[in-house]
C-alpha cells in the first residue's frame, strides 16, 4: 500500500515536472534503471521542440520589455560584457562550423563542376538533374520505404514492451538494460554482426530457418529482400530508445486514473485504450517527429551492410548514402549539395505537416 502511494505521488510529480526541470529531477531520484536519464532527456528534447516551434518568436519580442527593468547603466554594461564573452566560444564555433556551412551548402547547390574540378555558377542545373536522375528517384523511394516500414513497427513494438514493463514483474531493470543495449552500441559494429547473420551460406538466420524447414536466401544480395533486411535491423536498433521514453511517459501518468477505472470495473484492455494510449500521445508525437528525422537520414546501417559495389545498391541506398557517394566518392560537390538541400526541405515539410496534424490526435490534457 505504501508503495502504491509512493508511486502515485511520483507519477503526479513526474507529470507536473514535465516542463520544470527541478521538479522532474526531484521525482526521478526515487526510481532506478536507465530511464532516469532517458526520461530526463525526453523532457529536454520536448522543451527543445516546443521552444523552437512555439515560443522562440514570442520570446524575442518579450525580451525587449524585460530589458528596461532595472540596474544602473554601468552595471548593465558590465553584465553585457560577461554575457557576450561567455557565449562567444560556442556561438562563433556554431557560426563557423554550422551556420556558415548551411549557407555554403545552399550556395554550392547552384554550382556546377567543370573540367579540372573548377566550379562555376550553374543556376538550377543540379536541381534539374535531381528531377531527371533515375538513381535519385530510387533513392527517394528507398528512403521512404525505410521510414514507412520502420517507424510504425518501432513505435508499436516499443509501446508493447513499455506497457509490459510497466506491469509489476521481477527483473524489470534487466529487461530495460537488454532492450536498450543496441542504442549505446556502435551502428557500424552492429551492422557487421547482422551482415554476418544474414550471410546466405554460413549465416545464423538461414540456419535457424532451416531448423523450421524454411529454405534460406541470400538476403543481402537479393534485390527483393535486402531492403527489408535493413528495415529489420533498423527496427531492432530503434526499439530500445523508443521503449525507454514511452515507459517514462507511461510512468508519468497519474495512478489515480487507473484506480478510478478499476473501481468502475474496467478491464486491462479498456484501461490501455482509454487511459494509457490517450495520455501517452504527447510522447508518441515527440518520438514520431524525432524518429522520422533520424530515419530520413539513415546511413551507417546501409553503408556497413550493403557496401558500395553490390547489385542491390540501387534498391537499398538512402538519400544520405547517395549524398555521401556524390560528395566524397564522385566529388560532385554541387550535385551533392542539391541532394542535401532536398533532404532538408523534405524533413522540414514532414515536420511541419506533423505539427499541423498534431492537434487532431495528440492529447495535451
Amino acid at each position: 500500500m505504501v508503495e502504491t502511494d509512493h508511486r502515485a505521488s511520483q507519477g503526479l510529480k513526474a507529470a507536473a515536472g514535465n516542463i520544470l526541470f527541478w521538479d522532474s529531477r526531484g521525482s526521478e531520484t526515487v526510481c532506478c534503471g536507465p530511464e532516469e536519464y532517458i526520461s530526463f532527456l525526453q523532457t529536454i528534447q520536448r522543451i527543445c521542440l516546443l521552444c523552437i516551434c512555439e515560443r522562440s518568436f514570442h520570446k524575442i519580442f518579450m525580451s525587449k520589455n524585460n530589458q528596461v527593468k532595472h540596474k544602473t547603466p554601468g552595471y548593465q554594461k558590465k553584465e553585457w560584457f560577461w554575457g557576450y564573452l561567455m557565449i562567444a566560444p560556442v556561438t562563433i564555433g556554431l557560426a563557423v562550423f554550422y551556420i556558415y556551412p548551411f549557407f555554403l551548402t545552399f550556395y554550392n547547390s547552384f554550382l556546377k563542376i567543370g573540367s579540372f574540378n573548377v566550379s562555376s555558377w550553374g543556376g538550377l542545373t543540379n536541381y534539374q538533374k535531381l528531377l531527371t536522375d533515375a538513381s535519385m528517384w530510387n533513392t527517394l523511394k528507398n528512403t521512404v520505404r525505410y521510414v514507412v516500414f520502420t517507424i510504425p513497427a518501432i513505435l508499436f513494438l516499443a509501446l508493447l514492451i513499455a506497457v509490459l514493463l510497466n506491469v509489476k514483474i521481477r527483473g524489470k531493470a534487466v529487461y530495460r538494460v537488454l532492450y536498450f543495449l543496441p542504442y549505446v552500441t556502435m551502428a557500424a559494429a552492429i551492422s557487421m554482426v547482422w551482415k554476418w547473420m544474414f550471410n546466405g551460406d554460413y549465416g545464423l538466420i538461414n540456419y535457424v530457418l532451416g531448423i523450421f524447414g524454411i529454405e534460406g536466401r541470400r538476403w543481402l544480395t537479393d534485390t527483393a529482400t535486402a531492403p527489408y533486411a535493413i528495415i529489420l535491423v533498423s527496427i531492432w536498433s530503434g526499439i530500445g530508445y523508443n521503449m525507454i521514453i514511452l515507459l517514462a511517459g507511461i510512468q508519468g501518468i497519474s495512478t489515480t486514473y487507473y484506480e478510478a477505472a478499476r473501481i468502475d470495473g474496467a478491464s486491462a484492455v479498456d484501461m490501455f485504450f482509454r487511459i494509457t494510449l490517450p495520455l501517452v500521445t504527447p510522447t508518441l508525437f515527440f518520438l514520431l517527429v524525432t524518429d522520422l528525422i533520424s530515419a530520413f537520414q539513415i546511413f551507417d546501417t546501409i553503408y556497413m551492410m550493403i557496401g558500395k559495389n553490390t547489385v542491390v545498391l540501387e534498391n537499398t541506398q538512402s538519400i544520405v548514402m547517395y549524398f555521401y557517394r556524390n560528395a566524397f566518392e564522385l566529388k560532385q560537390k554541387g550535385y551533392a549539395s542539391a541532394i542535401a538541400m532536398l533532404l532538408f526541405v523534405l524533413i522540414m515539410i514532414i515536420t511541419l505537416i506533423q505539427m499541423a496534424l498534431q492537434k487532431k490526435w495528440v492529447n495535451y490534457d
Partner: protein, 274 residues
Amino acid sequence: MKARKRKNTAVHIVLLLGVVIMVTPFVWMILTAFKTQGEAIHVPVIIFPSELRLDAFRDVFERLPFAQAYINTIISALATIAAQLIMCSMAGYAFGRIRFPGRDLIFVISLSVLMIPSTLFILPQYLIIQKMKLLNTLPALFIPNLFSAFGTFLMRQFYMSLPKELEEAAKLDGCNHFMIYLRIMTPLVKPGLTALAIITLRLAWNDLMWPMVVNTSTKKMTLSAVLANLTGQYSTTYPTLMAGSLMAILPMIILFAIFQRQFIEGIAITGTKG
C-alpha cells in the same frame, strides 16, 4: 492471486522472447569471435567454439592499427566532451541568466542549427578542415563537434532552473558573472554536465561518416572507420571481424553502465532540494 501470477508469466514469456531477439546479435558476435575461421564457416552452423581461442583478437591488433584507433577514438571523445562541458555550460549560463541586448535572437539562431539535418553541414565542414590543412590529423576528428547547440540548450535549461537568490548575494559581494558561474552555479548543475557528457560520448564514439570522410590514413582513424575499412578492403576472416566489432563496442557498454550510476548519484545529491 493465481490469475495475476499467470498473467505475470505471460508477460515474462513475451519479454523474454523479445530479449532473445535483442541479445542474439551480441551473443553471436561473442561466439564467433572465439571461433576459428573453419568453425565460423562450417555448414551446418556450429554454435559454440570448440575452445576459447584468442587468435581473432590477436589478429585484430596485429593486422590493423586497432590500438591506435582506440587511442584516436578516446582522444577525440574526451576532447569533444571537455570542450562541450566548458563552452556549453558557459554559454548556457550566459543565455539563461545574464541579460544583454540581442541575447534571445542569438540564442534562437544558435538553436536553429538543431533543426537542420547534419548532412547539410558535413561537406562544407570537410572543405573548412581541408582549408585549415588538417585532413588526416587527430584534431580533424573532433573540431566541428566541439561546438554544440544541443549542449548549450541543455545547460541553459539547468542554469535557468536555479533560484535567483543564489546570485543576488554574490552580486552584493562584488562577484562578477564569471565567478558566479564558476563558483556558485556550476557545482549545482552537475547532473546536467553528466548528462551532456554521456550524450556526447555516445555520439563521438559511434559516429561513422565524419571520421571516415575526414581521415583516410589508417593511423588517424577512429574505431568505427577502421571497422568500415575492415569490411571493405581485404578479405578478413569472420572471427576477426567479430572480434573487432566486439572490442569496438565493449568500452562503450562498460562506460555507459558506469556513467549511468554516476548520473543517478549526481541527481540524488543535488536533487535533495527538489
